[in-house]
Structure formats: C-alpha cells, structure tokens
C-alpha cells in the first residue's frame, strides 16, 4: 500500500454531488481537494457520434459494468438473495459525471411536506393511517430552509420550466401544487411534443392542472452564474442513457468540470476505486483519516482531514458497511442505523395507449413532456382512499428509438412474431405511447441493506444485499394511478390501450428509475439516522455523505435537484463553519 501526500479534502465519487462539492470548495476555499472517481474521464466531445441506440439504450455503454460489481436482492428477510447479474431496475453510472451524464434531466422539486413526512402525515390523518411497519421520518430540514438552495441549483443547471407558485402566488400553467419558489425558472419550458400536447389538452378538459416538465435540458442558450455557457436542446431524442453531444443537457462534465478545471486546488483522479474509509476508533472523538483505493491493481492510501462520501447512492451505504463505520441496522431489533430506510420509487407505466394518428415520437428530450400533480401525496385527500401519499403522472416525450419501443401492439394481436405481428408492430410503432407514474415509496422496517454473505465484487469485497419489496400502500397507489390513467388516455382519444397489471413483487427485470434512496439517512437524532441535517456523520464529524442515500424515504419528485440543493447547503456549512472550526455542525 502506497501512502500519498495528504489532502485537505478527499471526495469519493466524481458524479453530480461529488463534483458540485469539489467545485464549491475549489471556488470558495483554498482547501486542497482530491476527487477519486473509479471510472474513466468523460467530456462533451466524447459524445459526438454516439447516437447509437444499440450501444447506449440497449447495451448500456454508459452504465456501471456489472461484471465488476452488482448488488444482491431478496424480497424478504429469510429469502436467499441472488445477484442482479445484469443491469435492471436502476442504472448506476461510472466515469466522470457518474449517472449525471446519462440521466433524463427532469428536475422537479419535492413538495414542502416531503421533508416533514412523518409529522405532516400524522397531523393530517393521525398515526392510524400509517402502515403498521412503516419507518418514515422527517428529514431534519424543512422546505423553507432548502428553498434558497433549490433556486441556486436551478440557476446552476439552467432549469427550464414554468413556475406555478412564486412566493405563494399561484400561477396558471405552472405546477399550482408546488411549494413556494422565490423566483421564476431561469429559462422558459422546453418545447412540448405532440404526445405530451394531447395529454395537456385532455387533462385540462378533465379538470386537472397540467404543466410542462421542469428540465435541466436548456430550452435556449444559457450562461450560468459561474460563466458556463451551454446551447439549447435540439430534441434529437438520444438523451436519457446517452451523454449529450452538444451539452444542452446539464451534466457534471459540461456544467461543473469547466469551473473545476480552473481551480488548481482541485484535482480529479480517474481510475481510483475506493475500497475503505480509514478511521480511528477512539470513541466520541473518532475521526476518519482518509480512504484506501485500488488503481490498476495497486493499493493506495489517500490521507485527508475531511472525507466527503459522494459515490452512487447504494455505494455510499456499502462503503460504510465495508469500512465498519457505524452500526448496521437490524430489522429484527431495530438497532443500528446504517442500511435502514431503503426506498426506490413507484415508477411504472400505468397504461400503454394506441392512437390512430402517428406521434412522431423520435423527437423529444429526456425531460420533455407534460405532468400533472393532481395525484400527489400532498394534494390527494386520502380519507376515503386505501393508501397514503401519491405521485405525479406524466406524458413523457423522451425521444424514442425502435430498439426501445418496437413491438408494442394491442392485446387483440396475439402473435409475437411472424407476418401478422410484423404488420401490426410496424403500424403501431409510431402510434403507441406510455404514460409514466412516479410515486412515493414509503420506508418500511423490513426494507434495508446489509452485506451479502455469499457474493463478492471483483476485488473480493462482499456485495451489498438489498432486502426490498412493495407493500400494499404502493400496490394500491399504483392501481389508483392506473385507473386514473385509463380515463386520461380515453380523453386523449386513444383507440385502444393496455393497462398495467399492477405492481406485484419488486421486479428487477424491469427498468423503473435510478432513484434508489436511503441507507445513510439524515435526521434529527443519531438514534434514527446516520448523518445530521448538514449531512455530517453523527460519529465521525470529519465525514460528510452526499446523495440519495441520505433521503429518509423517497418523494414523488426526481431526487437529483434535492441532492444538488442539499450538497450546496452542506458546502456552505463546510466553507462558512466547518473549515474555520472543525467539529459537529449540529447537536443531537
């Protein structure tokens, strides 16, 4: 093991949150910052001529190599967990920019009550309405505290959208159910393709409140407060699962790296696979001393005064488990906090609709589309409903290619191959489209993570084991969304449709979203959380953890914007307070 020169700060992971932290520290402090990223370098020019659906959409060239590392999964505690041998329900990234390179770039905010989910739900319905084995919690921060940081990151990425609530004033055409925002979006919404326009018209007719999807894909050329210029989107349709070839979609490589490159105190080291956080076990005053990593077979120790853990959400939990930092959660006793509150999101397609007219759906962008918030958790009245909370319903216009969408035919077409199927599949190719629902996944005592006793990664370290399944609350929410979606596609003029058969058990064969959350959750007490509201580890005060792993449970919003907002808040706390006087930033 080779010991390297010490750094002031080591950041584990070069994705959205790690590079945002590096940019903030680089711009606003003189601290020496080393970012360790296990994948290779990436930049916008690498994406030229990568409009290759087979390579990217099907073979997932942008995604973590599952031959090196995966996770294992089981539905419940006594089941034998097996590895996800191929990418399935979520798509972790690898390389500079991480999953922030191939994301879809929808950037909605969470509703204010999401941050105080437990107390607000009890306040509204009493604790009897909560599922028996729930583990939902408040975050330890409120929406009002987060709002300035939401605004800041919207300006950073050039969010394109339409406000529905500026300082409490409701605005038609935006999301009238959203929390207050201090200002309008930096840019107007992206263009709305035909399928989403059909949805917009139909939902208005039905009395709902459609709004254009907030997008981190620029509707027009934009220069952000850091002076980073990016062009507007061309709606080429090669967006989610691709890197943007022109830089219109905000990605860490096109939004953060140009600034980081200017700061001599920040370096990004590619090919560095971090295996352990090293710390002194000295009780209350425990400190992390740095991290060890492997690069091309050689082991290194990177000492640092401050460790920022910012790898992909599941890897944050795994690295702490592998390193022995904190007490692993036990679902049987409820002791320990590390690995608890694993949530995903109720992301599914309630209905596949068939239209008479062609949709031209090759045109679009990952974030283009129309949403309604009328079925959101804070909007629905659950008094007469068999579930709590809810989600957004969307008519996405991602831009579709044939490998991802050829073969959708109405139920009346029984053949799966041959002339009759071919004829129908060609006819319906551009006449079929799906609505998408994204709902809240509550945290439960039995959904958690620990280390797998059998399977290992390519370094010989145990894989992370996920114990995860839906409960009736999610299943009923999905059924509700499906029933509403059927009404809506009928109003859109669909000639035929195929409805979802329901959630059933958590299905790793189907891509859902990459919004896995929890494991190193934030909260007000070290009894029930791993990090404090500044994302600082309760025991190791010189360890901060960024990303979706800190969310106590999922909301119905995409998590990226909240991850970035919380990262900014933590960066401010580090620059303004921690670097001046290292120590705990919040009392327990």
């Amino acid at each position: 093991m080779k010991t390297l020169p010490s750094a002031d700060v080591v950041v584990v992971g070069g994705g959205w949150t790690g590079l945002l932290m590096a940019k903030e520290l680089g711009s606003r402090s003189s601290a020496s910052v080393v970012v360790l990223e296990r994948g290779g370098t990436r930049k916008t020019t690498d994406y030229f001529n990568t409009m290759d659906e087979l390579e990217n959409y099907v073979r997932l060239r942008m995604i973590q190599d599952f031959s090196s590392e995966t996770v294992t999964l089981r539905h419940y505690n006594r089941q034998k967990a097996l590895p996800l041998r191929q990418a399935g329900p979520f798509l972790p990234g690898v390389g500079t920019g991480g999953a922030g390179e191939h994301w879809g770039a929808v950037c909605d905010r969470m509703s204010p009550d999401s941050f105080e989910l437990l107390s607000k739900t009890v306040e509204k319905y009493g604790s009897k309405k909560l599922p028996e084995d729930h583990a939902i919690q408040d975050w330890g921060v409120t929406y009002d505290e987060i709002e300035p940081f939401y605004s800041r990151v919207e300006k950073l990425i050039g969010a394109s959208g339409k406000a529905g609530n500026i300082n409490g004033k409701k605005i038609d055409g935006g999301n009238v159910f959203e929390g207050w925002r201090s200002s309008e979006y930096p840019l107007p919404p992206t263009k709305i393709p035909y399928f989403s326009v059909l949805f917009d018209d139909a939902t208005k007719k039905l009395g709902y409140h459609p709004y254009p999807s907030p997008a981190a894909t620029l509707s027009a050329p934009y220069v952000n407060p850091d002076g980073v210029a990016r062009p507007g989107c061309t709606y080429c349709g090669f967006c989610e699962r691709y890197g943007c070839m022109i830089g219109a979609k905000a990605q860490p490589t096109n939004t953060l790296m140009p600034v980081i490159a200017k700061h001599k105190n920040v370096s990004v080291r590619n090919g560095a696979w971090v295996r352990r956080i090293v710390f002194d076990k000295t009780g209350r005053n425990a400190k992390s001393r740095g991290v060890t990593y492997v690069d091309s077979g050689q082991e290194f120790f990177q000492p640092a005064d401050l460790v920022v853990l910012a790898s992909w959400t599941l890897n944050n939990t795994r690295l702490l488990l592998l390193s022995g930092v904190g007490e692993p959660y036990s679902p049987s006793t409820g002791a320990g906090t590390l690995g608890r509150n694993l949530t995903h999101q109720v992301s599914f397609s309630p209905v596949l609709a068939f239209f008479e007219k062609p949709l031209n759906k090759f045109m679009g962008s990952g974030a283009a589309g129309t949403l309604i918030g009328d079925f959101s958790g804070h909007v629905l009245d659950h008094t007469q409903l068999p579930f709590i909370r809810g989600g957004t319903l969307q008519a996405p216009s991602h831009g579709y290619g044939p490998l991802g969408s050829f073969g959708a035919v109405p139920k009346s077409v029984e053949a799966k191959w041959g002339s009759a199927w071919k004829k129908a599949a060609i006819h319906y190719y551009d006449r079929a489209a799906r609505l998408a629902f994204q709902g809240e996944h509550l945290a439960y005592k039995g959904n958690f993570m620990d280390l797998d006793p059998t399977y290992t990664d390519r370094n010989g370290d145990p894989l992370l084991r996920m114990t995860l399944d839906w409960r009736d609350n999610e299943r009923r929410m999905a059924d509700f969304a499906t029933a509403k979606s059927i009404e809506i596609v009928r109003a859109m003029g669909a000639a035929d449709f195929t409805a979802s058969r329901g959630l059933g058990s958590y299905d790793a064969r189907i891509y859902q979203s990459s919004h896995v959350q929890g494991g190193t959750i934030m909260g007000k007490s070290p009894e029930t959380s791993v990090v404090n509201p500044y994302l600082q580890h309760w025991q190791l005060s010189n360890l901060f953890i960024l990303g979706g792993s800190t969310f106590p449970q999922s909301s119905s919003a995409r998590p990226t914007l909240a991850m970035l907002a919380l990262t900014c808040r933590t960066a401010d706390a580090i620059v303004d307070r921690y670097l001046k006087a290292p120590g705990p930033l919040a009392g327990s």
Binding site: D46, F48, N49, T50, M51, D52, E53, L54, V58, R59, F66, S67, E69, T70, H75, Q79, K80, L82, P83, L84, R85, Q86, G88, K191, P193, Y194, V197, G232, C233, T234, Y235, C236, G237, F238, K357, P358, N360, F362, M363, A368, G401, P402, L403, F406, K416, W417, G418, S419, K422, K423, I426, Y429, D430, Y455, T456, G504, Y506, D507, A508, R509
Partner: protein
C-alpha cells in the same frame, strides 16, 4: 477500402432466390450506386480457416455492412454472390439463424424482412463480441435459481444459449416455411427463442454500423430517421401527421470519437 475478388464458390454456399418486395429504396440505390461492403480480415490464411455466409447481392441489395472494428471492404456491384466472413456461426448455423429470423420478421407485403436487412450478420458479430461472452454480466458463482423477478440467473452466455438452441433446429433452413413456423412455435417459450426474437429486432433496427439494418431498410419501414442531429424546428409541428425525414447512419459521420 479494397475491392475484393471473391466470386469463387464455396461448399457452404447458401444462394437465396430473389424476394419480390415493396422495399423502399435508399437515395444511393435510386442513384444506381448499389454496392455492397463486406467486412473481415482478408489474409489468405483467414480465408482458409473462416466460414462464410454466401448470399446473392440481389437479395440484400443494400449498401452498408460494417464490422465491429469499423473496417470495410467494397465488393463491385457486378458480383453476384457475396461472401460474408462469419465470426461466430458456422455456415450451417448461419443458414438456420437466417431462416429462423426470416420467419420471425418475414419479407412479405408489409415490406422486407430479416434476411434482406442482414440480421444474421448482426447476430453473428454480436455473439462474437463482448455481449456474446457475457463480458459485462456478473458471472460469479454460485448460480442458483430464484424467483423470476430477480432476472436471469443462468450460467450460460448468449453464445452458449445459441449453440445449444441451434442443435435443436438442425436442418431447419431446409424445411418448407409452414414446417419452419411449427418448429419455432414449439420452442417459443425457450430462452433461446426469446433471444433470437430480440436479436432479430435489434438486427432490423440497429444502426447499420453494427452489421444489420442494411441500407437502413428497417428504419425505412418505420420512418425512423436514425442519427438525426436536430429536430428543433419540427418537434412542436406536424401534429397528427407523419413527419418522416430521410434516415442517417452513424456511418455517415466520421468515427473519430473512439478512445
């Protein structure tokens, strides 16, 4: 690109009859520039060792066939037979796959099919590459079976699944079409068939740089424009009517972004 003089017959010739189809023509074909590109190492040694898929230029009729390594060779349009070096299948296997893919996605009144689009060439190269050998799948033992929601847990690679599956289809390409359909119906629920079906779709509609979708035939069937850089002017227009700009392959752009 070099001109390849490879008209010599082969014991493994599979010469196809012409199909009468309503195949849309590419700009190149309309301009009478029909050429055919064949990929592969052409050293005499390789020629002896390798098996070839031999097909009539009139059947494929297309322009573009690229290999995994991006190299190409040009065959003069007068060549009646085209020898495509096989990377994974032997000639008999290739004949079976070509026939089976053509029953899954046949040439018929709704347009050309898997044979015309070079689907077998795509599958052959794909199985010879990292996908075929599961280079990106987690393949550490133990292999155990679990609930279906945990996904494919088998040990067999796509290449091995094909090898095994094709044994059960020996002589398939010699059967009449109705018999071929019966044989496929019998294996419909197998993993092999689902891969074959999936790869047939991929070979129909992938970018031609991968060996299938010859002359962008598949894209022309659907009106998919391929690697079109901008729809800015059109994305919020053409509502309710088909907008079908001509297709573009990645092969039309320089491949200078490697490494």
């Amino acid at each position: 690109m070099r001109n390849a003089n490879i008209n010599a017959g082969s014991k493994n010739e599979i010469v196809e009859e012409n199909f009468a189809t309503s195949r849309p023509l590419s700009a190149d074909q309309e301009a009478g520039k029909s050429v055919f590109e064949v990929l592969g190492d052409r050293s005499p040694k390789q020629m002896q060792r390798r098996q070839f898929l031999v097909i009539s230029a009139a059947v494929v009729g297309g322009v573009l066939l690229f290999g995994l390594d991006g190299s190409t060779q040009r065959v003069s349009p007068q060549d009646r037979l085209i020898h495509i070096p096989l990377h994974f299948f032997d000639a008999a296997e290739a004949a079976i796959v070509m026939a089976a893919a053509s029953r899954i996605f046949p040439a018929d009144e709704s347009g050309p099919g898997a044979k015309e689009a070079g689907v077998v060439v795509y599958i052959d190269r794909h199985l010879a590459g990292p996908y075929g050998s599961d280079s990106h799948r987690y393949t550490q033992p133990p292999f155990e079976s679990g609930v279906p929601e945990l996904g494919y847990q088998g040990k067999a690679t796509p290449a091995e699944i094909y090898r095994e599956g094709l044994k059960g289809l020996a002589g398939f390409h010699l059967l009449p079409m109705a018999e071929q359909d019966k044989a496929l119906a019998q294996i419909e629920s197998t993993l092999f068939f689902s891969l074959l079906r999936q790869h047939t779709i991929e070979g129909m509609f992938c970018d031609p740089v991968h060996g299938g979708n010859v002359d962008m035939l598949g894209w022309q069937l659907l009106g998919f424009p391929g690697a079109r850089m901008s729809n800015y002017e059109d994305v919020d227009k053409h509502f309710g009517e088909a907008f079908r700009p001509g297709p573009v392959s990645l092969g039309g752009h320089p491949r200078d972004n490697e490494g």
